[in-house]
């Protein structure tokens, strides 16, 4: 291990209190930063586009009639002299007994929209009412527990608000089952822990008044469809104990938020989406790094540019957030910024990293320091995209486009104090999509946003969830089929599935008009929800045995393999041993002048082909075929590179010896005959890229028909497939065992091809854009025309 560390000694001295740089930069405000970027020689050519959104007045209305004086008092003590119009509307609807979904931007005060109705009902019921709150991450639920608890304490009440997740000790679990008024948990715990053991939670269910679902936009695709079924199960268990809870949901700004909420909850939901919160003037800039290799269109590294930009956008008088796409990038940038703290007029301790995998206590500390203004600069992953309360900041720098408009908006929403101007800088990478945005920044602001897909009635998801539901309570059938209950009873396929389980699989016994679970297995254990399940590898300090961080299993093979440099806020640790089986990685503190970057390879092997359809069925035309089958997908971390900080010089590589991550799933295959390939000129080069574009557009339109997310499908396009020796496209279910998406693709492929053709034909771009086949940098100059030709000529 290198101890010398090139360039490490530069700023170790730090800046004395009140030092010159700090004084000079201390007065810098957003308006000045904007002027500097617009006029400064170093920057002005790099930022081709500015978008300015004028300030907006907040719309404040008096507290709703009938709100308990205790709640009003605490809100007034906290500086509220009323509620924003959207908050008041949400509270009023909730107290009228409606299911409510609030879909407004980050930092518009959505938390109060569900806090107030819950507190009000606690008062009205003399402390009997209960609420179950679902958050997409552990961090969020812990954050909200603190918020609720402080409100309750300020009102002098003794209601209990508790987090229930995998970290909750057994003794605490027992007491919160009996005494918790507000239980804050996540969908996985609800699915595997609470619902199958509902008897132990009977106190909660009996008085369950509210179900809070936060960050609704994270519930889509296979994961969202599974959660929709978990919510069906929750409602039927609550009904068993005589409760009929209402939903209080919050979401990022979403196209058709009401429809999405209605599909998730299985009932009509009142939507509140007129944001009444004020905002200062907002500046948006798209930053294009200089070309370093004009021939290949390669631009300067976005992270290096972020480091350069820091000199303009960081300072002691305001707060700046950098968003990186990867954990490693967060660590590298944090280290760079800490090392140049003095030049930024900052102390090292005022610059923090933040990502999933930091230990909870450390995260809490950073969040608090951000909120209280002690931390001036934070470098984060999407972990800070969700609603963790860190207060409003001033400047956001997005290093690379986060991939979706919703995500961009969430990140941008982190800045903008009441009445103060704010700035968002989007740094583009060399990536085609990022470069497209440089040319078309209007895409970032186009109204509408993405539409989220959801299919709670997907047969595989539904039948797995029905097993769990039947374990929890028997189903009662009524004459002629559908069970006598509102949740699953409204789903047409349910009677068939129940009969199938009773008569073929033997999970259920049908007796006296009821279906009883009758097996010695515990079904929820074998049923996955997908999503980023908190299934973690712990990283331990070899010396002290203490945990220094954690990481999800998927990321572990590229982050904590033996030889990896693991970074925490700029400190470097070398992984000496990775116990893959037991999910433990052992690290030793080192002073490294390099970081590591691992590569993975994905391999696809066809195990079995189940069905095949050849086209055209009759007459003349190009020959092509579709199949559905079973594939084996292997993801293997192969090697890692050692990269020197700053210079990015490659210091060598090492092998990674870890078992591959393996998955068997279902796959849809589309192939062209050799003659067809020849006729269409599909031979490689630009035309090879166009073949991939055909796959990409199919994957993009598939969710609309399959009601999944693009990320639920894996894609591999081979212009000359090693097995079939002709062009093949593979689209597979990215869920272990599959949930039937590939089969739906197979059955609906003609519809899908025509939808894809329509999208490409109607797109007004010249030679490809992210909205159709992808930017021409990716699919080649002929990509769009070629893809359109392929799509048009494949006839049934």
């Amino acid at each position: 291990m290198t101890q010398e560390g090139a360039g490490r000694e530069i700023e170790l001295g730090g800046v004395p209190e009140g030092g010159g740089v700090r004084r000079v930069l201390g007065g810098r405000r957003v308006e000045e930063i904007v002027r500097l970027l617009k006029e400064g020689e170093a920057w002005r050519d790099r930022i081709p586009h500015w978008v300015e959104v004028p300030a907006r007045e907040g719309h404040i209305v008096p507290f709703p009639e009938g709100l308990r004086p205790e709640i009003v008092r605490v809100l007034e003590e906290r500086g509220f002299d009323g509620l924003y119009a959207h908050q008041a509307e949400a509270v009023r609807l909730a107290l009228d007994g409606r299911d409510v979904c609030v879909a407004t931007p980050t930092a518009s005060g959505k938390t109060l929209c569900y806090t107030i109705p819950i507190l009000q009902s606690l008062f009205e019921s003399g402390g009997a009412a209960k609420a179950l709150c679902l958050f997409p991450t552990k961090a969020l639920s812990q954050d909200q527990t603190v918020g609720f608890t402080s409100m309750i304490e300020a009102m002098g009440e003794s209601w209990n608000c508790c987090t229930y997740d995998g970290d909750t000790p057994p003794a605490v679990r027992r007491s919160l089952r009996a005494r918790g008024h507000l239980i804050l948990t996540n969908p996985w715990m609800l699915h595997q822990g609470i619902l199958p053991n509902h008897a132990k939670w009977s106190d909660l269910f009996r008085d369950l008044r509210w179900i809070v679902v936060d960050e609704l936009h994270t519930l889509s695709g296979v994961f969202g469809s599974s959660v929709a079924n978990v919510l069906r199960r929750l409602l039927r268990v609550a009904r068993h104990y005589g409760a009929s809870p209402r939903f209080l949901a919050s979401s990022a700004t979403l196209r058709e938020a009401g429809e999405h909420a209605a599909r998730l909850f299985g009932r009509e939901v009142a939507v509140v989406d007129r944001d009444g919160s004020p905002s200062g003037k907002r500046y948006f800039a798209v930053y294009d790094p200089p070309l370093v290799d004009p021939g290949r269109g390669l631009r300067a590294n976005a992270l290096e540019e972020a480091r350069r930009l820091a000199a303009a956008v960081c300072g002691p008088g305001h707060q700046t957030i950098f968003f990186c796409r990867r954990r490693t990038a967060v660590e590298v940038l944090t280290r760079y910024l800490k090392e140049s703290a003095a030049r930024l007029g900052l102390r090292e301790s005022e610059i923090r990293g933040y990502r999933g995998g930091y230990l909870p206590a450390m995260r809490r500390e950073i969040e608090r320091d951000l909120k209280e203004g002690r931390t001036k600069v934070v470098v984060a992953t999407h972990a800070l995209e969700l609603g963790i309360d860190i207060g409003a900041l001033d400047v956001a720098v997005l290093v690379g486009y986060p991939g979706s408009q919703a995500s961009f908006r969430q990140r941008a929403g982190r800045v903008g104090r009441r009445g103060e101007p704010s700035l968002v800088v989007q740094i583009a990478r060399s990536d085609p999509l990022d470069q497209y945005l440089v040319r078309h920044p209007e895409l970032l602001f186009r109204s509408g946003g993405e539409r989220l897909a959801l299919d709670p009635d997907n047969l595989v998801i539904l039948s797995e969830q029905l097993k769990c539901a039947a374990f929890e309570l028997p189903f009662r059938e009524v004459e002629g089929g559908l069970p006598d209950e509102p949740e699953f009873g409204a789903v047409e396929a349910v009677p068939g599935i129940l009969e199938y389980f009773a008569e073929e699989s033997g999970f259920l016994r049908r007796r006296g008009g009821r279906f009883f679970w009758m097996a010695d297995a515990y079904p929820a254990q074998d049923v996955t929800l997908k999503g980023n399940e908190p299934d973690n590898v712990v990283i331990l300090d070899r010396e002290s045995g203490k945990a220094i961080g954690e990481i999800d299993r998927e990321g572990s093979i590229t982050t904590v393999h033996e030889g990896a440099i693991y970074q925490v806020e700029g400190e470097t640790w070398k992984i000496e041993r990775f116990d893959y089986e037991n999910r433990r990685a052992y690290a030793r503190r080192v002073d490294s002048d390099y970081f590591t970057d691992a590569h993975t390879e994905t391999e696809l092997r066809v195990l079995r082909l189940e069905e095949e359809r050849r086209h055209p069925r009759s007459g003349e035309g190009l020959k092509w075929d579709v199949r559905v089958g079973e594939v084996h997908v292997t993801t293997l971390a192969t090697l890692y590179k050692k990269i020197r900080f700053y210079t990015r010089e490659n210091l060598g590589a090492g092998d990674i010896r870890l078992p591959p991550e393996e998955m068997d799933s279902e796959c849809f295959l589309l192939g062209l005959s050799e003659e067809t390939a020849a006729e269409l000129g599909l031979r490689g080069g630009d035309r090879g890229a166009a073949w991939r574009a055909v796959g990409a557009i199919l994957r993009r339109v598939a969710p609309l028909h399959l009601r999944c997310q693009p990320s639920d499908l894996g894609l591999s396009a081979r212009i000359r497939d090693p097995h079939f020796e002709r062009p093949m496209l593979y689209l597979w279910d990215r869920v272990m065992g599959g949930v039937g998406l590939a089969r739906l693709l197979f059955e609906e492929h003609m519809v899908l091809l025509s939808a894809a053709r329509e999208v490409v034909a109607n797109c007004r771009c010249g030679s490809g854009c992210p909205a159709c086949v992808g930017p021409s940098e990716e699919v080649g100059p002929e990509g769009k025309a070629c893809a359109l030709e392929v799509l048009s000529r494949l006839r049934a």
């Binding site: 068939g496 699989s505 068997d664 065992g737």
Partner: protein, 470 residues
């Protein structure tokens, strides 16, 4: 829904990939990934062939419902049960049922470390054992047989409430709750962790008030496990009843097969059910016999005469457990007395000796009985020296090392004698040096620091330690 019912099923089969229609899939495939194995295994509720007709002429195999199954109607609900009465003179293995009244009830509190069991009256207790469809918790688990035994004027009455179908669940639970609530205490084997929770969960689901709240609960599993400490191979009821009560089950239906037997019954094949009833009956009778054995071990005489079965560690271990019981209940005087008794019997090579000495030394120091303590410390040193002289590969146990630390503390803090404290510390370090990777580093560190400190003090004081309060 498109097409016929069969078409839908076929679609479901394909989507769920339960391709029963394709037998090739069911044969094990080489290199078949684990998830697929699991998925196929969970594709059906049970793997085994449920039909087990013919073979054997055991009296436990019947063709119809279990004999003597009766029904009762209470509050308009029907439940099924079987009632049997055993004479108090009934022998279960080596023990008569009535011997349970001849033991000192104080011992249950002692051996469970649970003061609430003081004065436990087994005459008014209910002996509880259940059969369930699964060993996991969860709402979908059925308690299909509830065995409740109690002493009445007629003898030992065994009530076995039986679930003839899931629809009778509320009635059975209500009746079981009523019967349990009549008792003053519950006796079970692992029931505090299992049977009680399965019943409570189900009762809550059906709105039946669980009866366990105010009842004392003697769970025989924990004191039994402490008494044999792994020396019987496992801690199951069948194992301890054989070892301590001399009870052998013949043609017993293993508990793990009970769920299948019940599910067969639901499908019209009741032939194994009699075996489940017999198994449950033996379980409940064993609770009585084991209580009687456990109750007898504190006294010098067993009411069953010369037939008492000693635990595997012999009388020494039995007395040691009693000593620990007193210590747990806070009666330190009695605890020290029992420890002395146990230590007289435990041989120098008894596996429990180091732990017993460590605990006893701790108690003596607490009571400031330094003379007694010194004796124990001496025996600890002897044991350590014997280990060093003996087999070099046998690692020192934690108890011995911690005993040496206690001894060092006794000499250094209580008696202000540096030399023996140093001797104990050095002994420990020599033992640790031989323990390759076995001992925790914190313990080594502790002894190393102690050695440095003691040596420094000796250097300062020239071998004498100044007197004075510590």
């Amino acid at each position: 829904m498109n097409g016929s019912k069969e078409e839908f099923r076929e679609r479901l089969r394909r989507l769920r990939r339960e391709t029963e229609s394709a037998p090739a899939r069911r044969a094990p495939r080489s290199g078949m990934p684990e998830w697929l194995r699991r998925r196929l295994a969970t594709g059906k509720a049970r793997d085994s062939d449920p039909i087990r007709e013919g073979g054997g002429d055991s009296p436990l195999r019947t063709r119809g419902l279990p004999l003597n199954l009766r029904t009762a109607v209470r509050g308009g609900e029907t439940h099924a049960f079987r009632l049997q009465v055993f004479s108090p003179e009934h022998r279960h293995g080596l023990r008569r049922l009535r011997s349970v009244f001849e033991v000192d009830p104080e011992v249950f509190a002692l051996l469970s470390g649970d003061p609430s069991l003081r004065g436990l009256e087994l005459r008014s207790a209910v002996f509880l054992d259940t059969e369930t469809t699964g060993l996991e918790s969860g709402a979908g688990v059925f308690v299909f047989l509830v065995g409740l035994g109690r002493f009445t004027g007629r003898g030992f009455e065994l009530w076995q409430g039986f679930l003839r179908g899931p629809e009778e669940e509320p009635a059975l639970l209500r009746e079981a709750a009523r019967r349990i609530a009549r008792a003053r205490a519950v006796v079970s084997f692992f029931g505090k962790s299992f049977d009680r929770h399965r019943l409570e969960d189900k009762m809550r689901i059906h709105g039946v008030e669980p009866p366990f709240g105010g009842l004392r609960h003697l769970d025989l599993y924990h004191p039994m496990r402490r008494l044999h400490r792994g020396r019987l191979g496992d801690a199951r009821l069948a194992t301890v009843e054989r070892a301590f009560c001399g009870f052998e089950r013949d043609s017993d239906l293993p508990g793990s097969e009970a769920p299948g037997a019940w599910m067969d019954f639901l499908d019209g094949r009741p032939h194994l059910l009699e075996g489940v009833f017999a198994h449950n009956r033996d379980d409940v009778l064993s609770l009585v016999a084991l209580s009687s054995w456990l109750g007898s071990i504190a006294s010098t005489e067993d009411p069953e005469g010369g037939e008492r079965r000693e635990p595997p560690g012999g009388e020494g271990v039995r007395r040691l457990e009693i000593a620990r019981g007193y210590a747990g209940l806070g009666d330190l005087e009695a605890a020290r007395r029992s420890y002395r008794g146990a230590l007289e019997i435990l041989g120098e090579d008894a596996p429990d000796l180091p732990a017993a000495l460590l605990e006893y030394l701790g108690l003596c120091r607490k009571a400031r009985a330094f003379g007694e303590a010194e004796g124990a410390a001496g025996r600890i040193r002897t044991a350590a020296e014997a280990l060093l002289d003996g087999n070099p590969s046998s690692p020192p146990g934690q108890a011995l090392l911690r005993g040496l630390r206690q001894a060092a503390l006794l000499f250094e803090r209580d008696q202000r004698r540096l030399e023996p404290a140093l001797a104990c510390t050095r002994l420990a370090l020599r033992l640790l040096a031989r323990a390759v990777g076995g001992a925790p580093p914190s313990l080594s560190l502790d002894f190393e620091k102690r050695l440095r400190r003691l040596e420094a003090r000796r250097a300062r004081s020239g071998g004498r330690v100044p007197e004075g309060p510590r």
